[in-house]
Symmetry: D2
Subunit: 146 residues, 4 copies
């Protein structure tokens, strides 16, 4: 995916504690980076954060994660994480992520989120105002089942 | 995959620091759990650990990770992580993981590892003795391109 | 403190993700190790865990932590963490910790815990049954203000 | 210590993965926050970073850490971490830290660092240029044994 397809990037500096003996960021931490970038994307969209969702009793949960590791991030690297909502289903949505150091894409991935009631343990419809907002934010065509 | 298809399990207790506000294990930590279980699987196979590999100049790197989240692990859960090598390529191999609480599979996933020279940044053949050992360990048929 | 002064030890294997570029456990992780060992000490004492406390509305919070780093723990080290309650106040208590690799003490420390109501943000008396149980568990004289 | 005694602050946003079931930042993570803020303080001073030190064979190690927890940091809090070098010894130095949310000091602490040769496992003199630079940076009187 061209870098220009992302309308949102979040900058992030690699921490000492995130780098392992191989002198690279430990592989699981990129998934945390996705989470951090998603939080900021969501904030930039003006949508309710995870704590607010938790208090309201309906929350986004990650259902599937895919990560492709192209090249490692190193200690103190200044990264930029592109986030893009690529698909909006009834109760699920797909987010694409790419982690860049300058123009080089180091890690790409996608997360499938489900909006669910954690007590009933079942998906609930994504609110219409979220849907509207996400369509405004994404400059590209958003796949949608509705 | 039936639980019985795994010849190796590693027990793991969920730590307080790994559980988030949603009262569940944070999604990135399962990828760390896979890493821990892989280390113990590798040890049980009698193969050289990551530090030894690092010192020898050829190391296993994760190239792709896929995680499927079925149900969350909770604080203090006693988990069992099944690990199985399902494919052996020339310089890559696929490992399957399933995280269980009793008989319930909470998270499943697969990691594609590449055995590589980090200086030259290219794959190198998986040693014949590793190959032999992994074939002995896995009771099931192991897909192999050789 | 002699190793024999501890009546409780918790074993712990150093994880790959916990070791940094200096090839040693990152300094903050020892404080997490203390927390893990305290959880197991508390369980061995038969006292209510952090989640139960949270649900009951009164919880132990760390008020002060001191760590002394003598020698680093390394990747894959098999550690033993000694835990001992050394002082019982009205609403606070002091726990001593020592992290061993074989007979060598690598890190020692103490945590001051306060038992508090997080809504009212003030200390509450440690329950009499906890007090009784901790006195039984500790073979050594326990300093106590009561 | 008055907030004005710090000449350096590093901003930091609390991450979802750093908050636990008690809805507060897990106690060990503040020590990681100190480390992150120290890295940025050191960078602002123009002194060689941990990786450069590691490659040069002499490194700063934490010898003692003290943390005082006054009030918890919460999810998504925008924190400011004050860092100040308060003492310069021959091969050791003391750094003071205070973590603020607006004008409220949530956590304070101090770290004793030793500059050491990790092979010989003994302290080595802090370079004169580091000493000179730290004295320039700190507006307040710096305790020094030299």
């Amino acid at each position: 995916m061209p870098k220009s397809d992302f309308s949102f990037f979040h900058p992030l500096r690699v921490r000492w504690a995130e780098v392992d003996l191989q002198k690279v960021v430990f592989n699981a931490h990129y998934l945390m980076y996705f989470d951090i970038a998603f939080t900021e994307y969501w904030r930039a969209c003006g949508l309710p954060d995870a704590l607010t969702q938790h208090q309201q009793g309906k929350e986004l949960f990650v259902k599937r994660a895919i990560l492709e590791y192209h090249s490692p991030a190193l200690y103190d690297d200044a990264l930029n994480i592109g986030v893009r909502c690529s698909r909006l289903g009834n109760s699920s949505m797909t987010l694409l992520f790419e982690i860049y150091r300058a123009q080089e894409c180091l890690v790409s991935g996608e997360l499938l989120y489900v909006y669910a009631d954690p007590i009933a343990k079942k998906g609930v419809p994504i609110p219409e105002e979220w849907r509207k907002r996400l369509k405004e934010v994404e400059r590209l065509t958003l796949d949608s089942c509705q």
